[in-house]
């Protein structure tokens, strides 16, 4: 009943995973891809975001992710030993970046797009994490899409003004950053302010125990994911 009326924002996600599971997987995944773990354990963990994306009907993102990762990994194994000089440095840089960073970023993306604010708050409450910590973190979920919207608009505005890579900005690339950051920060502060005011008038901060109409909890899918991650973590610790 509860989940019937309070689905996630994303009707595509038919596999519900507890936000806590997602966060734990995210942390372990990052540990494993950054630390030099045995390949089989890494591949195991790297595959998790792929399947999660697939199950939440984001086939395109899933395929892009897995093919980019595979290419980078193959590059790392086969190309680096046979190349020299600048090309070698370039390949090392790109493959390293993709192999080390991408799984974490993709898992983070999955976490943010499939978790609603109320789900997150409910699961934090269950773990007895005080609202004073949970609420600011939950704002992140609200903030990322807003930020992306803002950046897009600012980029458009820059293009109309002819601000982009040209002689002047190549000489001092920092100025480009300034052009993005100044309007971005000002708008972010303004939005944040209005958002806080609106939440206060809706009674956020009321000391009574908050009701969570959205049900969260660990299910079989969470347990499977957690076991996988735990095994990978043990391998990481033992065989490092």
């Amino acid at each position: 009943m509860n989940c019937e009326i309070l689905q996630s924002s994303d009707t595509r996600a038919n596999l519900k995973i507890d936000p806590r599971t997602k966060i734990i997987v995210l942390v372990i995944l990052n540990l494993i891809v950054f630390g030099e773990t045995a390949h089989y354990a890494t591949l195991f963990m790297v595959a998790i975001p792929f399947f999660l994306l697939l199950l939440s009907k984001r086939e395109k993102a899933a395929l892009i992710y897995i093919s980019a990762y595979t290419l980078a990994l193959l590059g790392e194994i086969f190309l680096i030993p046979v190349t020299h000089g600048v090309l070698n440095i370039l390949i090392v840089m790109i493959t390293n970046l993709l192999v080390r960073m991408m799984p974490g970023i993709v898992m983070g993306y999955y976490l943010i797009v499939t978790t609603t604010v109320s789900e997150f708050l409910a699961s934090m409450e269950k773990t007895r994490i005080p609202e004073i910590i949970a609420i600011p973190i939950s704002v992140v979920f609200r903030f990322f899409p807003t930020l992306i919207e803002e950046i897009r608009t600012i980029k458009d505005a820059m293009r109309m003004r002819g601000i982009g890579f040209n002689l002047r900005t190549v000489k001092s690339p920092l100025i480009l950053l300034e052009y993005i950051m100044v309007p971005l920060l000002i708008n972010a502060v303004k939005t944040g302010d209005e958002l806080s005011a609106a939440s206060l008038t809706r009674g956020l901060g009321n000391p009574v125990k908050r009701t969570h109409i959205c049900e969260v909890g660990f299910h079989i899918q969470d347990i499977i994911l957690l076991i996988f991650s735990a095994v990978a973590l043990i391998i990481f610790i033992l065989f490092k």
Binding site: I5, S9, T116, V117, D156, A157, G162, E194, A198, L204
Partner: protein, 514 residues
Amino acid sequence: MLEIKNLNFSYNENKKEPDLKNINLKIKKGEMILLCGESGCGKTTLTRLINGLIPHFYEGSINGQVMINDLSVEKSPIYETAKIIGSVFQNPRSQFFNVDTNSELVFGCENMGLPVEEIQKRFHDVVSTFNIRHLLNKSIFKLSGGEKQIIACASVSASKPQILLLDEPSSNLDSASTWDLRKLISIWKNAGNTVIIAEHRLYYLNDLIDRIIYMKDGKIHKELSRDELRSMDNKSFLQLGLRPLSLEDLSKNKKDFSPKPSKPNDINTHLNLTKFRYSYGKKIAIDIEQLEVPQNEVIAIIGKNGAGKSTFARCLCGLERKCKGLLEKEGKSLGNKERLKLSYMVMQDVNHQIFTESVEDEILLSMEYDKSTEKTEEILKNLDLLHLKDTHPMALSGGQKQRVAIGSAIASRKEIIIFDEPTSGLDLKHMKEVAYNIKKLQKKGIIIFIISHDLELILECCSHVLHFEKGKVVDNYVLDDAGEEKLKHFFINPIKDTNIPITSPVLLFPPKRC
């Protein structure tokens, strides 16, 4: 029910003049009050004092009292006030805590710690009363401005407040959504709720209002009862600096308005669009087979939210690389690069297009060829910005920022300027100012498009109308007398079209004793 006694307030104690002076106001249960007055008259400040955002969020020094029943807004915590007063704000983008509509609807109830069954009951009640089943389970980032505002009203309603407080709720809405908003307000009113609304656009509230509080310089200048209101005509509203109460009596500004009848099919005086198409994914957003737009006129682009107006503007500016089709000016076809070079859009939220630290730099940034001080000063002088040339643009008022954006467009010698909702949330005086600037630009020979939901602005400065519907141009006409009728029909008609009853008149909020 609500009583304000000898209220004085200032945001900054050191200021000589307080922001609100000697406010005394009693509002009875079930009354519908309209707060109006020019920008900066203190309407918003007053609403903040009523819902407790002052002093609990915005600081300042308060003298006097705001009492709701027996509750002092200043002394009790804001979540107590929140149970009695539901607030809806101006900007639909920044009043949602959640990212999905369902959670947002119950957010207030969850905060009050109501039992789950009760919340579910209220959820279903609100969904059926406001008829918003089609908006459930959606990401708020995918809703239009009007839809967001409806969700905002519905979610406030779910907490069953006795007083509804709305701060310029219509300023980002198209005409159909504005009439929808009216319906929501009348539901509240019929259910016996007190409604307080601060607003510039008055026409959609016409016969709902019980009392108008007219504010000026932080004081209550005038109070008009329902009967007094009826006896006033649009002229007396204009004298008060207010937007008209009914759109029917508006008419075109004929004084400095002389569209030269340009011969059709003349490539020198017309922009020509052929097979102009744009689609994202499989959805076709713009589909124009053939269109001819006169060049030395001010063209209004009208249509409902989501009709493709903004996408069309983006294509004209060359911002959409995937836009197909021809755009010809004086027989020359313009590709995306040329479009980017020749055209400029003044965005609804001008904050996004200001990049530098002073007004002067902002203009200089746009000058590609002759970066001369005289030229800059001339542009600034024409826009009445010269005295502000060293100011940081973000410190300017909304209208001034808009003029800076216009200035940078002139400096980079743009030939087409598109305004996206230039007057949303503006009072009469500032709306006229925008119209004045637009007319001046037109005299310079710049082609101007205005996307607008503001009938008054269009009548004030446009001479041609493009009507969009579902990505197509369904009408393209000169704004002469016949055109004026058509235009008014578009803006006023939605009353009849959307007058389908929402549901049977359910008493949503059983009247409590106050």
